[in-house]
Amino acid sequence: MRTSKAVLIADLRSSPPKSSYEFSHRCADSLDAGDHLITLFGRHEKSNRHWGTIVTAVFQTTAGELKVFRGQAEDGKHYPSLTHTYPVAQIFERELWEQTGLQPDGHPWLKPVRFEGERQQRMTDYPFFKVRGREVHEVGVGPIHAGVIEPGHFRFMCLGEKVHHLEIQLGYQHRGVEALLLRRPPMALASIVESICGDSSVAYAWGYCAAVEALSNSPVSLETDLLRGIALEMERIAMHVATLNGLATDVAFLQGGGTYGRLRTAIINATQRVCGNRFGRGWLRPGRARELSEVLRQDLIQTLTAFARDFTEINELMLASLSVKARFQGTGIVSTKTAQELGLVGVVARASGVEIDTRVQLPGRVYERFPAELITESSGDCWARMKQRMREADASVQWLLKVLGDTALDLSGSAAPDALGKPLAPETLCLSLIEGTRGPVVQVLETSSQGQLLHYKVQDPSLPNWFGLAMALRDNDISDFPICNKSFDLSYCGNDL
C-alpha cells in the first residue's frame, strides 16, 4: 500500500478493515510519529445484514510515503475523539460524524460541516458560540454578500473593533456531489468533476483522470501527463493573479486592481485558445489531454513572456507601496505551529513556513522530469500569503516556459491509449493527490467486487483551511477581515460539495 507518486492504488482484498479500536490506535500512532493526515472519511456499508461504517485514513509519512488504514464500526458507534489530542483531525471527524453518524466522544467542536443529509433543512440551528458581556457585540455577515461572492455566513464576536472569535458556517452550496458522481459511468464523470469547484477545474479533472486511469490500468503517455501539467500551471497562475487582484482591490490599491485583472484575462484567454474554455474545462479527459500544436505552443510562450514582464512590474509596485505594507504586514498571522497543529495545507500553509507541496513531495513523472520549486514564506500574515502567491505564480511561469521551450518534447498529439471501456479493478482503493492552486485536491475512489464505483470521496484543500482563517482573525480588527479572507481565498463550493 505504498507509493512515492501522487496516485496510490491499494488492493483491498489483501487487507480487510481493522476493528475501530485498532484503527484508532494505528491512527494515533501515526500522528504521534509526525505523519501528515491527508484524509479521513467513512462510508456506509451493509455486511451480514447490519449497517456499518468503513473508515479510511490516509497518511503521508515524514519520508513522503502514503499509507492507508481502514477500520470498521457498527452504525452510531461512539469512539474516543482523536481531535482531543490531535487538532488536525477536527474537520475530518466532524465530516465523518455528519456523513455516517459515528460519534467522536470529547470532540471540542462537533458542529456540522455542510449540513448534508437530514440536516439539510436545519441550517438555522447552527450551534454558534456565544460571547457575553456588556460591551461585546456580534456582527453577522452573509450568507448573501455584496458582489460576486459565494454564500457563507460569518459571525464575528467582537469587543469594539477587535474580533475575539469568528465562526464560519458553510454548506449553502451543498449539491450532493459525492452521490452524484456514483450515478454515472465512472469514465463519464469529467464534466461533473470539473464543476465541483469551478476555479480548480484542471486540478480536479487531473486527479479524476489519474485515478480512473490507474484503476483501469490504462496508463497515458508522458506527453499527455505533461499537457495536464501545463493546464494545471496555467490555472495556478490565473487563480493566484485573481487573488492578487482581489487583495489590491480590497485595500483600494488602484494600480494593482487595474493591472492584475487585465493580466489574468491574458492567461485565461490563452487557456481558452487551447481547450475552448477559459477555466480549462475540456482540456483533460480520461486517457487524453488537449494537445498543443506548434502554433499554440508559440502562442503560450508569447503570452507568458509578455505576462511575466508586466507581472514583475506590478508586483514590484505593490510590494514597494507603503500603504499596502501597512495593511498587510502583521495582519491575520498564522504561526507555523498553528498551521501544523490545524493541519493547514497548500499555499496558506507554505506562507506560514510549512514545507508542504505535493508537487515536491510526491512529484510523479511530470514533476520528476521538470521539478517544481518548494516556495515558502515565514511570517504567516496577509503579506506572506500575498508574496507567496506572487512567487508561486512566477515559478509557474518559469516552469511553463521550460516545458514549452523543450524542443525534445512533442506535445502536438501522439496517439493516446483509449482508456474508455476498460473495466475498473475490483475491490481497489485509489487515491489521487493533485496540488491545485489552493493546495492538494484529494480524490479517493473505491470499487466493489464487481468493479463498480462504490464510493467517490472528494476533498478540497479548503476543507481544513477554513479553520485557519477563523484562527487568523483572532485579535485582529474586524475591518481587516476582508483582506484576511481574500489572502486565504478559500473555496465555498469546494467545502460544500
Binding site: A146, L254, S323
Partner: protein
Amino acid sequence: MNIGLALIHWAIVLSMPILLVGLVNRTKSWWVGRKGPRLFQSAYDLWRLLGKRPVVSTTASPLFRAGAYVVLICGLLAASMIPLLGQFAPLQFSHDFVVVAYTLGLARIILMISAMDVGSSFEGMGAAREASFATFAEPALFLLIGTASAATGMTSFADLIGHLHNTPHYAIIVAPLTIALLILLQAEAARIPVDDPMTHLELTMIHEVMILDHSGPELAAMQYAAALKMTLYAGLIAALINPFNPLADPVGGVLVSLALMLTVAVVVGCIESLSARLPMRWVPAYLLIASVAALGSMLVIGLGANGV
C-alpha cells in the same frame, strides 16, 4: 449684498458636487489606463435614484427617512455660510463659523441616528466609527478657524478667510492649513485613505455602511450631501489659496476659485490612485496631522503677534 456673486455661489454649490465626483473618478481611471465614466455620471445616477421607490426596513422609524433630507438641508445651510469664492458668502454674520460647524455636526448626528435606526449591526458599527473619527476631525476645523480668526481679528467666516491673505504670516501658514483642509476633506467626504467610496466590503466601510439601508430618493439625498461636503472643503481650500478678492475682482476671483476646486479634485484623485487605504486603526493618527498642522499655524500667529 452682491446678488450676482450669490447666484454664482449657489450655482457652484449645486453643480460642483456632481463635477468634482466625476473628476475624481476620471483622474483615477486615467491612472489605470481606463476610459472612465462620464464627468456628469453621478448626475445620471442621482436622477435614476430619484425615480425609484424607496425600500424601508420594517424596524425603521419615520426618522430614518426624514434623516436623509435633514442631512441634505444641513449641508446646504452650511454651504450658504462657507466662503467658497474667497471673501464672500451669501449668508454672513458674526461668528457664523460656529453655526457652520454645528450645522455639519447636526448632519452628522442625524446621519448616525438614522443609520442606527434600522438596527443593523453593520450600520451601528459604521456610526461608531463615524463618531470616533469625528472626534479627531472637529478639533482640526476649530483650530483652523481659530487660527484665521486670530490672524485677522474678523468674526465672520467669509471675512476671516478673505482677510487672511493680507496678514503678515499668510505665506507661512497657507501650506499647513491647506494640508489640514485636504485631510479634513478626505475624512468628511469619505475618500481614500480614510474611507473607500468604491468598496463593496461592509466591514471596512465608514460612511457607505451608514447609508446601506437607504434607497431611492433618500439614497440620492445622502450621496449628494456627501459630495456636497467634498465641495465645501474643496471650496475652502480654493478660498484659502485664491489671491483674488471676489468683491473687488469678481471674474478673476470666481474663475481662479473654480480652477482651484477642480485642481483639488484632481489631487484627491491622484492620491486615491497612488496609495492604498490606511488600516482603520491608523485613521485617528492621520486625522491628528490636520490638528497638528492647524495648531502649528496658530502658534505661528500667536508668536508672530508677540513679536517673536
